[in-house]
Amino acid sequence: MADSLSPECTPLKKEYDACFNAWFEGYLEPAVSASASPQKQAEYSQRKAEEFQQKCGKIWESYRGCVQKALKEKGLDKLLEQSRTENPLTEPPQSSMPPSSSSSS
């Protein structure tokens, strides 16, 4: 995996990535098959979400903290904030074309 934007966060990032990848690879294919039944899917998703939090929650907190600091140092936090305001994308885009930017300069 590529490095972190700040070298001191890289070891934390690698640990987090490894945790996520391990969880994700076990998650995906059963998730696809569980989708056949809505009840099964809901129960599976719930269980797996909790499992992810359990396994990777701690390393995530440390890694996240490191990244937040690095972003501030690089002056990216403001740009990020602006981008998030204009395109929050909390839901997947509906159409195949991306939503246009809401602000006009």
């Binding site: 995996m1 590529a2 490095d3 972190s4 934007l5 966060c9 990032k13 987090y16 990535d17 996520f20 990848n21 994700f24 690879e25 998650y27 995906l28 294919e29 998730a31 696809v32 569980a34 989708s35 899917q41 809901a42 599976y44 998703s45 719930q46 797996k48 979400a49 909790e50 992810f52 995530w60 890694y63 996240r64 990244v67 690095a70 972003l71 002056g75 990216l76 740009l79 990020l80 602006q82 981008s83 395109n87 994308l89 909390t90 997947p92 885009p93 195949s96 074309m97 991306p98 246009s100 930017s101 006009s104 300069s105």
Partner: protein, 260 residues
């Protein structure tokens, strides 16, 4: 300016047209004067008077104006659409592979990736990930200088992986230089209808200039160009008027002295 040199008959017999351009506020232009002068004479005039309207300078300005004009007259947003492409891997493999894409020697411009946020929706099973990618800056130097861009380019990527519908949608937009232009790219991975062992990839991109900033930069440039042209046109006119006046005055005197 040496009068003698201008009065000498030109060596070259090639004639060229020189245009004085007037730029209208809507960026269209018109030629206001058409002057035909011998090539050799122009050379001498250009040598002797620095601020004379030179052909190559005109063409350079013309080029800039053309570029600006086509930019402003075209739509604000440029859309690109890539043809769908098939990967010979099932969808789940492609999606797992997504997280291992970098580093790879063919995409050496990506130098850092960090996860900013990740959430697993306990109801839908959808995974939303927000990442920031650091890339080696590929913008030309003049853009960086003009708009104060940083060395590295950063991209904000948001992905939605939906195992229920087997759709992975990844959107990316630039963070760096986002005050100037936004490049919004969207990629979709879904199983191919032909075979479950194949995955379809489709990509769209939308590039939007922040017209406000471009407009003020373009307006500033336009004003400066118009001023320069007017200055040069004025100087050119007076300089050339002098030249012509003296040239024909001289010749009149010469022919008068010959006949007398």
């Amino acid at each position: 300016m040496s009068l003698q040199r201008c009065v000498e008959p030109p060596v070259e017999t090639v004639w060229i047209r020189m245009y004085c351009l007037t730029i209208r506020p809507d960026f269209t232009w018109m030629t206001s004067t058409e002057i035909q002068i011998p090539f050799g004479l122009l050379h001498r005039l250009a040598d002797s008077h620095e601020r004379f309207l030179l052909i190559d300078l005109t063409l350079f300005y013309l080029y800039i104006l053309k570029a600006l004009n086509s930019y402003r007259s075209s739509s604000q947003t440029m859309h690109f659409f890539n043809q769908a492409f098939n990967y010979d891997h099932p969808w789940s493999h492609v999606v797992i592979g997504m997280w291992h894409k970098y580093p790879n020697p063919k995409c050496s411009h990506v130098i850092s990736i960090d996860v900013l946020d990740r959430s697993v929706d306990p109801k839908t099973g959808m995974i939303r990930t927000e990442r920031v990618l650091g890339c080696k800056q590929k913008a030309p130097t003049w853009i960086l200088k003009l708009f104060g861009g940083s060395e590295d380019a950063f991209v904000r990527e948001i992905s939605f992986i939906d195992p229920k519908t087997q759709n992975a949608i990844i959107t990316s937009e630039n963070l760096s230089l986002s005050q100037v232009v936004t490049c919004f790219e969207q990629i979709r991975y879904s199983p191919s209808s032909e075979s479950p062992q194949r995955t379809v990839f489709s990509q769209t991109a939308e590039i939007q200039a922040r017209m406000g900033l471009w407009r003020s930069a373009a307006d500033g440039l336009e004003k400066w160009l118009v001023q320069r042209f007017e200055q040069n046109a004025q100087l050119g006119k007076t300089a050339f008027t002098d030249v012509l006046g003296r040239l024909w005055e001289e010749r009149q005197l010469q022919s008068a002295s010959l006949s007398s």
